[in-house]
């Protein structure tokens, strides 16, 4: 933890031009960088699906809850996939692969997809 005044005031200390640039980027960027938030969402939804299936297989969840959560997660993943500006990209294909999994897919298979998406997300973030 830095805990310095500079680190705490990072936002306030940013030059005005950088802020304006960030505003502009936030509102009009396209491509993998613009898709980053959807990749992140898809990674999270896939990891959550894996967690649901894992807990369900251990008998810790009600059938209704499991069914509803799986359906909602799939629906959100579909919405996320539709929001991508580059659906044929590597990450677009990975999300399609997740959507191809059955509701009761193994937690390991789903975690593997989530890990793939996480790797793509990290590489785009560091680019």
């Amino acid at each position: 933890m830095k805990g310095t005044a500079r680190a705490r005031n990072g936002f306030a200390a940013m030059p005005r031009k950088s802020l304006l640039l960030l505003f502009a980027l936030a509102s009009c960027s396209k491509g993998p960088q613009a898709d980053l938030q959807y990749i992140s969402q898809a990674r999270s939804l896939t990891a959550e699906w894996a967690l649901i299936n894992e807990q369900s297989s251990e008998g810790k969840l009600t059938d209704t809850y499991t069914r509803v959560m799986r359906a909602d997660l799939r629906e959100q993943l579909q919405t996320t996939a539709k929001s991508l500006t580059q659906p044929n990209s590597r990450y677009g294909q990975e999300i399609q692969a997740v959507l191809g999994e059955p509701d009761h897919a193994s937690p390991q298979a789903l975690r593997s997809h989530a890990d793939q998406l996480k790797q793509i997300e990290d590489s785009l973030e560091s680019a």
């Binding site: 933890m1 505003f23 936030a26 209704t64």
Partner: protein, 406 residues
């Protein structure tokens, strides 16, 4: 005391906390606990002050606003607050629909309509005391989140370290902005303006006088501390259970897993029922807070201690706000988007809510011997500065981080 519990459980652990606390824990570990702790002191200060003003000057917040801010600025504040509280009510009704959907499997919108009808009926039939008791005491089912945190054996030194003000090291500019957005969102969610409207109006409903001041102080302190404990438990469990497996909770359904993992089906059902009551309590609070605000501003008869037809314009107002909120939900708008709007709108209204309260609580002509002491004044101005800074930063941070998405 049940008024404090209802205000705190409904105000703290409503749909926004269920999602924001869990997301904050998943993304930043324990590093945002201190923002919850700091904001809790803020809402305790203003909650106590609004209760004291209600008990001594018998003045609810919106009556003060019109007199202290003047008609024009008072009207602007009323409109801004009505919009923010209406969006919040809609988000809570959506939350009720979602939790009923998880419990029954029935369609979400159908459950939102059914939930709204039950809430409306409870507000019509139950006197104020029973509204408090029902939602306040049943909301204690939320304690399952605190018990669950203990059961999963979190790294307590790290949890304790979260109470120390900090910004995690090594964050990129983007992550720093997201951290800032979550910080502002937590301040807004903890110090929602409707909590002050509801709490002070509730004090007048219960005919508080100076003899109730010790009870007011206890209620504001214990009630809000309890709400904070629950919210921090949700955050810490998320840091332990969701962060390491890359889950960023997007809905209240995910938060319920925090109780299911240690306690299985029983934990899941208690968590869902607790969430249902807490979110329903918040829907009642926000809806009534809006009706209180309008009635107090225009000087209408108001109060749930009266029969509905004895305060007809107040009754029409709360029914109208409830129906309007339901209509918003029936447009199939995303509940989480509503939550984000509610948070951003509310923080902008906060300084205008707490300024007139501060001015009156330190005015000896109204408050006599119960006027703010140096501690209440000092803390009051400090937190006024905090909410003003958060209000200025809220919209730029929301835009720059796409609502915390990064």
């Amino acid at each position: 005391m049940t008024l404090g519990i209802m205000t705190a459980v409904g105000g703290f652990v409503d749909i926004s906390e269920l999602v924001f606390a869990a997301q904050a824990g998943s993304i930043f570990g324990y590093a945002l606990i201190w923002v919850f702790a700091l904001s809790t002191i803020g809402i305790m200060v203003f909650g106590e002050m609004s209760g004291r003003v209600a008990a001594v000057a018998h003045q609810p917040v919106f009556n003060l606003m019109r007199h202290r801010l003047g008609l024009k600025l008072g009207l602007v504040t009323l409109l801004a607050s009505m919009v923010s509280t209406l969006i919040t009510t809609a988000a809570e009704l959506g939350g009720v629909g979602l939790v009923l959907h998880y419990l029954t499997g029935a369609p979400y919108l159908l459950m939102a309509v059914a939930g709204t009808l039950v809430l409306g009926a409870s507000m019509w039939i139950l006197p104020f005391k029973w509204i408090e008791r029902t939602y306040g005491l049943l909301g204690l089912l939320m304690l399952v989140f605190a018990v669950s945190l203990v059961a999963i054996h979190p790294p307590w030194p790290k949890v304790a370290g979260g109470f120390v003000p900090q910004v995690p090291s090594g964050l990129s500019t983007k992550e720093l902005l997201t951290f800032g957005y979550f910080g502002v969102a937590i301040i807004s969610a903890v110090m929602f303006p409707y909590e002050a409207y509801f709490y002070s109006s509730g004090g007048i409903e219960e005919e508080w006088g100076p003899k109730d001041l010790p009870n007011n102080r206890l209620t504001a302190t214990v009630g809000f501390a309890l709400g904070s404990l629950l919210a921090i438990s949700i955050l810490a469990s998320s840091a332990q259970l969701f962060g390491p497996v890359n889950v960023g909770p997007e809905t209240p359904g995910t938060s319920a897993l925090e109780a299911a993992i240690p306690f299985g089906k029983a934990g899941l059902l208690i968590a869902l029922l607790g969430m249902l009551i807490a979110i329903a309590g918040a829907a009642v609070e926000t809806c009534m807070a809006n009706a209180y605000s309008v009635a107090q501003f225009f000087g209408w008869e108001w109060g749930r201690h009266k029969k509905p037809w004895e305060a007809p314009r107040f009754t029409i107002a709360w029914i109208g706000f409830l129906l309007l909120s339901l209509i918003i939900i029936l447009t199939d708008v995303d509940v989480m988007t509503l939550v984000e709007y509610a948070i951003v709108f509310s923080i902008v209204v906060l300084p205008l809510t707490y300024l007139p309260l501060m001015l009156l609580a330190r005015d000896k002509r109204y408050m006599g011997q119960y006027v703010n002491g140096p501690l209440a004044n000092g803390l009051g101005w400090l937190f006024f500065a905090v909410v003003t800074a958060a209000a200025i930063a809220a919209i730029p941070l929301y835009v720059l981080t796409s609502g915390g998405q990064g």
